[in-house]
Amino acid sequence: MKWTRDQMAARVARDIPEGAYVNLGIGLPTLVANHLAREKEIFLHSENGLLGMGPAPPPGQEDWDLTNAGKQPVTLVTGGSFFSHADSFAMIRGGHIDICVLGAFQVSVTGDLANWHTGEADTIPAVGGAMDLAVGARKVYVMMEHVTKKAEPKIVERCTYPLTAARCVSRIYTDLAVLDITPDGLSLVDIVDGLAFEEVERVTGRIAKR
Protein backbone atom coordinates (compact mmCIF):
# COMPACT_ATOMS: atom_id res chain seq x y z
CA MET A 1 0.00 0.00 0.00
CA LYS A 2 1.65 3.18 -1.22
CA TRP A 3 0.82 6.58 -2.60
CA THR A 4 1.76 7.03 -6.26
CA ARG A 5 3.97 9.96 -7.26
CA ASP A 6 0.87 11.91 -8.26
CA GLN A 7 -0.89 11.10 -5.00
CA MET A 8 2.18 12.32 -3.11
CA ALA A 9 2.16 15.52 -5.14
CA ALA A 10 -1.56 16.02 -4.48
CA ARG A 11 -0.95 15.49 -0.75
CA VAL A 12 1.75 18.21 -0.73
CA ALA A 13 -0.44 20.55 -2.81
CA ARG A 14 -3.26 20.25 -0.25
CA ASP A 15 -1.00 21.82 2.42
CA ILE A 16 -0.01 24.88 0.36
CA PRO A 17 -2.25 27.81 1.27
CA GLU A 18 -3.68 30.58 -0.88
CA GLY A 19 -1.19 33.42 -1.37
CA ALA A 20 1.93 31.37 -0.62
CA TYR A 21 5.22 32.05 -2.43
CA VAL A 22 6.53 28.60 -3.28
CA ASN A 23 9.62 27.11 -4.89
CA LEU A 24 9.35 23.56 -6.22
CA GLY A 25 12.61 21.67 -6.66
CA ILE A 26 13.59 19.70 -9.72
CA GLY A 27 12.23 16.15 -10.06
CA LEU A 28 9.40 14.82 -7.90
CA PRO A 29 8.48 18.24 -6.37
CA THR A 30 7.80 19.63 -9.86
CA LEU A 31 4.70 17.40 -9.97
CA VAL A 32 3.12 19.42 -7.15
CA ALA A 33 2.35 22.23 -9.62
CA ASN A 34 -0.07 19.94 -11.47
CA HIS A 35 -2.15 19.44 -8.32
CA LEU A 36 -2.56 22.97 -6.97
CA ALA A 37 -6.26 23.81 -6.78
CA ARG A 38 -7.28 26.30 -9.46
CA GLU A 39 -9.27 28.37 -6.98
CA LYS A 40 -6.15 29.04 -4.89
CA GLU A 41 -3.79 31.82 -6.05
CA ILE A 42 -0.29 30.50 -5.32
CA PHE A 43 2.90 32.15 -6.60
CA LEU A 44 5.45 29.74 -8.02
CA HIS A 45 9.03 31.01 -7.90
CA SER A 46 11.79 29.68 -10.14
CA GLU A 47 15.35 30.50 -9.12
CA ASN A 48 16.43 31.53 -12.61
CA GLY A 49 14.25 34.62 -12.22
CA LEU A 50 10.49 34.04 -12.46
CA LEU A 51 7.63 34.68 -10.11
CA GLY A 52 4.24 33.48 -11.27
CA MET A 53 5.50 30.51 -13.23
CA GLY A 54 2.78 28.75 -15.21
CA PRO A 55 2.57 25.29 -16.78
CA ALA A 56 4.49 24.03 -19.80
CA PRO A 57 3.35 25.57 -23.10
CA PRO A 58 1.59 23.47 -25.73
CA PRO A 59 3.98 21.71 -28.15
CA GLY A 60 5.26 24.11 -30.79
CA GLN A 61 4.83 27.17 -28.56
CA GLU A 62 8.03 26.79 -26.51
CA ASP A 63 9.99 29.98 -25.86
CA TRP A 64 13.57 29.13 -24.92
CA ASP A 65 13.96 32.47 -23.14
CA LEU A 66 11.17 31.33 -20.80
CA THR A 67 12.42 28.25 -19.00
CA ASN A 68 12.41 26.99 -15.41
CA ALA A 69 15.19 25.94 -13.05
CA GLY A 70 15.31 22.58 -14.82
CA LYS A 71 15.72 24.45 -18.15
CA GLN A 72 12.36 23.18 -19.42
CA PRO A 73 10.04 25.59 -21.28
CA VAL A 74 7.32 27.08 -19.08
CA THR A 75 4.85 29.97 -19.23
CA LEU A 76 4.24 33.06 -17.11
CA VAL A 77 0.85 33.65 -15.51
CA THR A 78 -0.89 37.02 -15.81
CA GLY A 79 0.73 39.25 -13.18
CA GLY A 80 3.98 37.29 -13.21
CA SER A 81 7.40 38.95 -13.28
CA PHE A 82 10.99 38.51 -14.42
CA PHE A 83 14.06 39.58 -12.42
CA SER A 84 17.78 38.99 -12.15
CA HIS A 85 19.49 36.18 -10.30
CA ALA A 86 20.52 38.59 -7.51
CA ASP A 87 16.89 39.48 -6.84
CA SER A 88 15.87 35.85 -7.16
CA PHE A 89 18.33 34.68 -4.53
CA ALA A 90 17.49 37.66 -2.30
CA MET A 91 13.95 36.27 -2.33
CA ILE A 92 15.33 32.87 -1.32
CA ARG A 93 18.01 33.82 1.19
CA GLY A 94 16.13 36.80 2.56
CA GLY A 95 13.34 34.58 3.86
CA HIS A 96 10.69 35.73 1.38
CA ILE A 97 9.84 32.27 0.03
CA ASP A 98 7.19 30.72 2.26
CA ILE A 99 7.59 27.10 1.25
CA CYS A 100 10.20 25.17 -0.67
CA VAL A 101 9.64 21.54 -1.64
CA LEU A 102 12.82 19.58 -2.32
CA GLY A 103 13.76 16.03 -3.17
CA ALA A 104 16.29 14.23 -0.98
CA PHE A 105 18.71 11.31 -0.73
CA GLN A 106 18.42 11.38 3.05
CA VAL A 107 16.81 13.41 5.83
CA SER A 108 17.84 13.02 9.46
CA VAL A 109 15.39 12.94 12.35
CA THR A 110 16.69 16.37 13.35
CA GLY A 111 15.98 17.83 9.91
CA ASP A 112 19.43 17.66 8.32
CA LEU A 113 19.11 17.43 4.54
CA ALA A 114 21.34 15.59 2.06
CA ASN A 115 20.21 16.08 -1.51
CA TRP A 116 23.04 17.43 -3.67
CA HIS A 117 25.88 14.94 -3.84
CA THR A 118 26.35 11.24 -3.19
CA GLY A 119 29.99 11.87 -2.36
CA GLU A 120 31.11 9.04 -4.64
CA ALA A 121 34.51 9.69 -6.17
CA ASP A 122 33.42 9.35 -9.81
CA THR A 123 30.40 11.69 -9.64
CA ILE A 124 30.62 15.31 -10.72
CA PRO A 125 29.29 17.47 -7.89
CA ALA A 126 26.56 19.98 -8.80
CA VAL A 127 24.68 21.99 -6.20
CA GLY A 128 22.62 24.62 -8.03
CA GLY A 129 20.32 26.48 -5.65
CA ALA A 130 19.73 23.60 -3.23
CA MET A 131 21.85 24.98 -0.37
CA ASP A 132 20.31 28.45 -0.72
CA LEU A 133 16.76 27.10 -0.69
CA ALA A 134 17.48 24.84 2.27
CA VAL A 135 18.72 27.68 4.48
CA GLY A 136 16.57 30.46 3.09
CA ALA A 137 12.98 29.27 2.63
CA ARG A 138 10.75 29.79 5.68
CA LYS A 139 9.59 26.17 5.52
CA VAL A 140 11.46 23.36 3.79
CA TYR A 141 9.37 20.33 2.88
CA VAL A 142 11.00 17.19 1.55
CA MET A 143 9.21 14.93 -0.89
CA MET A 144 10.78 11.52 -1.50
CA GLU A 145 10.23 7.77 -1.54
CA HIS A 146 10.24 6.45 2.02
CA VAL A 147 13.06 3.97 1.34
CA THR A 148 15.62 3.49 -1.43
CA LYS A 149 15.22 1.01 -4.29
CA LYS A 150 17.31 -1.36 -2.16
CA ALA A 151 14.82 -0.84 0.71
CA GLU A 152 17.32 1.13 2.78
CA PRO A 153 15.83 3.87 4.98
CA LYS A 154 16.10 7.44 3.71
CA ILE A 155 14.96 8.88 7.04
CA VAL A 156 18.01 8.33 9.23
CA GLU A 157 19.55 9.19 12.61
CA ARG A 158 22.48 10.90 10.86
CA CYS A 159 22.94 11.54 7.14
CA THR A 160 25.78 9.57 5.60
CA TYR A 161 25.68 11.57 2.36
CA PRO A 162 27.24 15.08 2.30
CA LEU A 163 24.88 17.62 3.85
CA THR A 164 23.02 20.31 1.93
CA ALA A 165 22.16 22.11 5.17
CA ALA A 166 21.71 21.19 8.82
CA ARG A 167 18.38 21.30 10.69
CA CYS A 168 16.41 22.84 7.87
CA VAL A 169 13.60 20.36 7.06
CA SER A 170 10.28 20.79 8.82
CA ARG A 171 8.14 18.15 7.12
CA ILE A 172 8.66 14.99 5.04
CA TYR A 173 6.17 13.69 2.47
CA THR A 174 6.83 10.12 1.38
CA ASP A 175 4.89 7.42 -0.46
CA LEU A 176 3.88 5.99 2.94
CA ALA A 177 3.28 8.91 5.28
CA VAL A 178 3.62 12.59 6.12
CA LEU A 179 5.92 13.25 9.06
CA ASP A 180 6.73 16.44 10.93
CA ILE A 181 10.20 16.98 12.34
CA THR A 182 9.77 18.33 15.85
CA PRO A 183 12.23 19.04 18.68
CA ASP A 184 11.04 15.71 20.14
CA GLY A 185 11.60 13.73 16.93
CA LEU A 186 9.31 12.54 14.16
CA SER A 187 5.58 13.06 14.48
CA LEU A 188 2.92 11.45 12.30
CA VAL A 189 0.73 13.85 10.30
CA ASP A 190 -0.83 11.49 7.79
CA ILE A 191 -0.53 7.91 6.61
CA VAL A 192 -1.61 5.94 3.56
CA ASP A 193 -5.18 4.66 4.03
CA GLY A 194 -5.15 1.14 5.43
CA LEU A 195 -1.40 1.08 6.11
CA ALA A 196 -0.51 0.05 9.67
CA PHE A 197 1.35 2.67 11.72
CA GLU A 198 3.76 -0.05 12.91
CA GLU A 199 4.61 -0.79 9.28
CA VAL A 200 5.79 2.81 8.78
CA GLU A 201 7.68 2.78 12.08
CA ARG A 202 9.44 -0.41 11.04
CA VAL A 203 11.11 1.37 8.08
CA THR A 204 11.55 4.69 9.88
CA GLY A 205 12.36 4.38 13.55
CA ARG A 206 10.34 5.83 16.40
CA ILE A 207 7.47 8.11 15.41
CA ALA A 208 5.21 9.97 17.82
CA LYS A 209 1.50 9.61 17.09
CA ARG A 210 -0.49 12.80 17.25
Binding site: S46, E47, N48, G49, L50, D63, W64, D65, L66, T67, K71, L76, F82, F83, S84, H85, A86, S88, F89, I92, R93, H117, D122, T123, I124, P125, A126, V127, G128, G129, A130, M131, D132, V135, G136, P162, L163, T164, A165, A166
Partner: protein, 218 residues
Protein backbone atom coordinates in the same frame (compact mmCIF):
# COMPACT_ATOMS: atom_id res chain seq x y z
CA UNK B 1 29.76 58.55 -27.87
CA UNK B 2 28.84 55.07 -28.89
CA UNK B 3 29.52 51.70 -27.32
CA UNK B 4 28.23 49.85 -30.35
CA UNK B 5 31.03 47.99 -32.12
CA UNK B 6 30.86 46.64 -35.63
CA UNK B 7 31.41 42.95 -35.04
CA UNK B 8 31.64 40.20 -32.46
CA UNK B 9 35.29 39.73 -33.46
CA UNK B 10 36.07 43.35 -32.67
CA UNK B 11 34.18 43.13 -29.36
CA UNK B 12 36.35 40.29 -28.03
CA UNK B 13 39.54 41.22 -29.90
CA UNK B 14 41.59 42.33 -26.88
CA UNK B 15 40.76 39.49 -24.49
CA UNK B 16 44.06 38.20 -23.18
CA UNK B 17 45.31 34.72 -22.38
CA UNK B 18 44.69 33.89 -18.73
CA UNK B 19 41.65 36.17 -18.47
CA UNK B 20 38.79 35.53 -16.04
CA UNK B 21 35.52 35.79 -17.93
CA UNK B 22 31.96 35.90 -16.62
CA UNK B 23 29.63 34.20 -19.10
CA UNK B 24 25.91 34.98 -18.80
CA UNK B 25 23.02 32.59 -19.19
CA UNK B 26 21.19 29.86 -17.35
CA UNK B 27 21.56 26.88 -19.60
CA UNK B 28 21.00 28.32 -23.07
CA UNK B 29 18.59 31.09 -21.93
CA UNK B 30 20.74 34.23 -22.04
CA UNK B 31 23.82 32.39 -23.32
CA UNK B 32 25.81 34.80 -25.56
CA UNK B 33 26.53 32.07 -28.11
CA UNK B 34 27.77 34.31 -30.94
CA UNK B 35 30.30 36.01 -28.68
CA UNK B 36 31.45 32.57 -27.54
CA UNK B 37 32.02 31.71 -31.20
CA UNK B 38 33.98 34.96 -31.64
CA UNK B 39 36.08 34.14 -28.57
CA UNK B 40 36.86 30.73 -30.05
CA UNK B 41 38.02 32.36 -33.32
CA UNK B 42 40.01 34.92 -31.32
CA UNK B 43 41.99 32.10 -29.70
CA UNK B 44 42.59 33.33 -26.13
CA UNK B 45 43.64 30.45 -23.86
CA UNK B 46 44.20 29.50 -20.20
CA UNK B 47 40.87 31.11 -19.44
CA UNK B 48 38.92 30.94 -16.20
CA UNK B 49 35.20 30.90 -16.89
CA UNK B 50 32.52 31.82 -14.34
CA UNK B 51 29.02 30.76 -15.38
CA UNK B 52 26.05 29.04 -13.81
CA UNK B 53 26.50 25.88 -15.88
CA UNK B 54 29.36 24.20 -17.69
CA UNK B 55 27.90 24.28 -21.18
CA UNK B 56 25.01 22.56 -22.91
CA UNK B 57 25.23 20.47 -26.06
CA UNK B 58 27.90 21.58 -28.55
CA UNK B 59 27.22 25.31 -28.83
CA UNK B 60 27.96 28.45 -26.81
CA UNK B 61 30.08 27.81 -23.73
CA UNK B 62 30.27 24.08 -24.53
CA UNK B 63 31.93 24.90 -27.87
CA UNK B 64 34.51 27.06 -26.08
CA UNK B 65 35.26 24.28 -23.57
CA UNK B 66 35.75 21.87 -26.44
CA UNK B 67 38.76 23.92 -27.64
CA UNK B 68 40.49 23.06 -24.31
CA UNK B 69 41.39 26.71 -23.80
CA UNK B 70 39.56 26.88 -20.47
CA UNK B 71 41.69 25.81 -17.51
CA UNK B 72 39.08 26.33 -14.82
CA UNK B 73 35.35 26.76 -14.49
CA UNK B 74 33.52 28.22 -11.53
CA UNK B 75 29.84 27.29 -11.55
CA UNK B 76 26.90 26.03 -9.49
CA UNK B 77 25.61 23.21 -11.67
CA UNK B 78 28.09 21.67 -14.10
CA UNK B 79 26.46 18.26 -14.46
CA UNK B 80 23.43 18.21 -16.74
CA UNK B 81 21.87 15.81 -19.21
CA UNK B 82 23.67 17.55 -22.10
CA UNK B 83 26.95 18.65 -20.47
CA UNK B 84 28.95 15.88 -22.14
CA UNK B 85 31.74 18.19 -23.32
CA UNK B 86 32.48 19.33 -19.78
CA UNK B 87 31.98 15.84 -18.31
CA UNK B 88 34.61 14.40 -20.67
CA UNK B 89 37.17 17.12 -19.91
CA UNK B 90 36.57 16.86 -16.16
CA UNK B 91 36.91 13.07 -16.08
CA UNK B 92 40.10 13.34 -18.14
CA UNK B 93 41.50 15.86 -15.65
CA UNK B 94 41.69 18.55 -18.33
CA UNK B 95 39.66 21.21 -16.52
CA UNK B 96 39.51 22.39 -12.90
CA UNK B 97 36.12 22.84 -11.26
CA UNK B 98 34.98 25.03 -8.38
CA UNK B 99 31.37 24.33 -7.39
CA UNK B 100 29.66 27.29 -5.71
CA UNK B 101 26.08 27.34 -4.44
CA UNK B 102 24.03 29.38 -6.90
CA UNK B 103 23.08 32.13 -4.46
CA UNK B 104 26.68 32.46 -3.28
CA UNK B 105 27.83 32.54 -6.90
CA UNK B 106 25.56 35.42 -7.84
CA UNK B 107 26.27 37.28 -4.58
CA UNK B 108 30.04 36.90 -5.02
CA UNK B 109 29.71 38.41 -8.48
CA UNK B 110 27.40 41.14 -7.18
CA UNK B 111 29.85 41.91 -4.36
CA UNK B 112 32.63 42.47 -6.89
CA UNK B 113 30.40 44.84 -8.84
CA UNK B 114 29.27 46.69 -5.73
CA UNK B 115 32.69 47.13 -4.13
CA UNK B 116 32.03 44.78 -1.20
CA UNK B 117 35.16 43.25 0.34
CA UNK B 118 33.53 40.00 1.48
CA UNK B 119 30.23 38.92 3.00
CA UNK B 120 28.76 36.43 5.45
CA UNK B 121 26.23 34.02 3.96
CA UNK B 122 24.23 31.23 5.62
CA UNK B 123 24.39 29.13 2.46
CA UNK B 124 26.78 26.21 2.61
CA UNK B 125 27.53 26.42 6.34
CA UNK B 126 28.43 23.01 7.71
CA UNK B 127 28.83 21.47 4.25
CA UNK B 128 31.74 20.33 2.08
CA UNK B 129 31.51 23.59 0.14
CA UNK B 130 32.46 25.61 3.23
CA UNK B 131 35.44 23.44 4.20
CA UNK B 132 38.31 25.60 5.44
CA UNK B 133 36.35 28.85 5.19
CA UNK B 134 35.94 31.37 7.99
CA UNK B 135 32.64 31.16 9.83
CA UNK B 136 30.86 33.38 12.29
CA UNK B 137 27.69 33.22 14.37
CA UNK B 138 25.61 36.38 14.12
CA UNK B 139 22.44 36.69 16.20
CA UNK B 140 22.45 32.95 16.75
CA UNK B 141 22.75 32.02 13.09
CA UNK B 142 25.81 30.46 11.44
CA UNK B 143 27.44 32.11 8.43
CA UNK B 144 30.35 31.47 6.07
CA UNK B 145 32.66 34.22 4.80
CA UNK B 146 32.71 34.42 1.00
CA UNK B 147 34.80 36.66 -1.24
CA UNK B 148 33.92 38.56 -4.42
CA UNK B 149 34.52 37.13 -7.88
CA UNK B 150 36.08 39.87 -9.99
CA UNK B 151 36.57 39.41 -13.68
CA UNK B 152 38.46 40.94 -16.56
CA UNK B 153 35.54 40.52 -18.92
CA UNK B 154 31.81 39.81 -18.74
CA UNK B 155 30.13 38.41 -21.84
CA UNK B 156 26.35 38.58 -21.68
CA UNK B 157 23.28 38.52 -23.88
CA UNK B 158 20.51 41.12 -23.78
CA UNK B 159 17.46 41.88 -25.90
CA UNK B 160 17.82 45.57 -26.77
CA UNK B 161 20.50 48.20 -26.28
CA UNK B 162 21.04 51.84 -27.20
CA UNK B 163 24.39 53.42 -28.09
CA UNK B 164 25.04 54.36 -24.45
CA UNK B 165 24.88 50.69 -23.50
CA UNK B 166 21.56 50.77 -21.66
CA UNK B 167 20.09 47.27 -21.75
CA UNK B 168 16.82 45.46 -21.45
CA UNK B 169 16.54 41.70 -21.44
CA UNK B 170 13.98 39.20 -22.67
CA UNK B 171 12.00 37.09 -20.17
CA UNK B 172 14.02 34.63 -18.07
CA UNK B 173 17.08 35.19 -20.27
CA UNK B 174 17.84 38.13 -17.95
CA UNK B 175 19.16 35.83 -15.18
CA UNK B 176 22.88 36.59 -14.56
CA UNK B 177 23.16 39.45 -17.09
CA UNK B 178 22.53 42.48 -14.85
CA UNK B 179 24.80 41.14 -12.09
CA UNK B 180 27.68 40.09 -14.32
CA UNK B 181 27.56 43.41 -16.15
CA UNK B 182 28.56 45.16 -12.92
CA UNK B 183 31.46 42.92 -12.01
CA UNK B 184 33.94 43.06 -14.90
CA UNK B 185 36.50 45.57 -16.11
CA UNK B 186 34.98 45.20 -19.57
CA UNK B 187 31.38 44.13 -20.17
CA UNK B 188 30.40 43.05 -23.65
CA UNK B 189 26.73 42.56 -24.53
CA UNK B 190 25.38 40.63 -27.50
CA UNK B 191 21.96 42.09 -28.33
CA UNK B 192 19.12 41.26 -30.72
CA UNK B 193 18.47 44.90 -31.51
CA UNK B 194 20.14 48.31 -31.17
CA UNK B 195 17.56 51.07 -30.81
CA UNK B 196 17.95 54.83 -31.00
CA UNK B 197 18.84 56.73 -27.84
CA UNK B 198 15.60 57.53 -26.02
CA UNK B 199 13.69 54.56 -27.40
CA UNK B 200 14.17 52.58 -24.18
CA UNK B 201 11.79 53.70 -21.43
CA UNK B 202 14.03 55.09 -18.62
CA UNK B 203 11.64 53.53 -16.07
CA UNK B 204 12.29 50.11 -17.57
CA UNK B 205 16.03 50.09 -18.29
CA UNK B 206 17.37 47.07 -16.42
CA UNK B 207 21.13 47.56 -16.83
CA UNK B 208 22.17 51.23 -17.02
CA UNK B 209 24.90 51.88 -19.58
CA UNK B 210 27.53 52.70 -16.95
CA UNK B 211 28.00 48.94 -16.51
CA UNK B 212 28.35 48.19 -20.22
CA UNK B 213 31.39 48.86 -22.38
CA UNK B 214 30.67 47.25 -25.73
CA UNK B 215 27.48 46.33 -27.53
CA UNK B 216 27.29 44.07 -30.57
CA UNK B 217 24.18 43.65 -32.65
CA UNK B 218 23.91 40.02 -33.73
Amino acid sequence: MTKVVASAAEAVGDIRDGATILVGGFGMAGMPARLMDALISHGARDLTIVSNNAGNGDTGLAALLKTKRVKKIVCSFPRQADSYVFDGLFRAGEIALEVVPQGNLVERIRAAGAGIGAFYTPTGHGTLLADGKETRTIDGRDYVLEYPIRADVAIIKAFKADRWGNLIYRKAARNFGPVMAMAAACTIAQVDEVVTLGALDPESIVTPGIFVHRVVHI
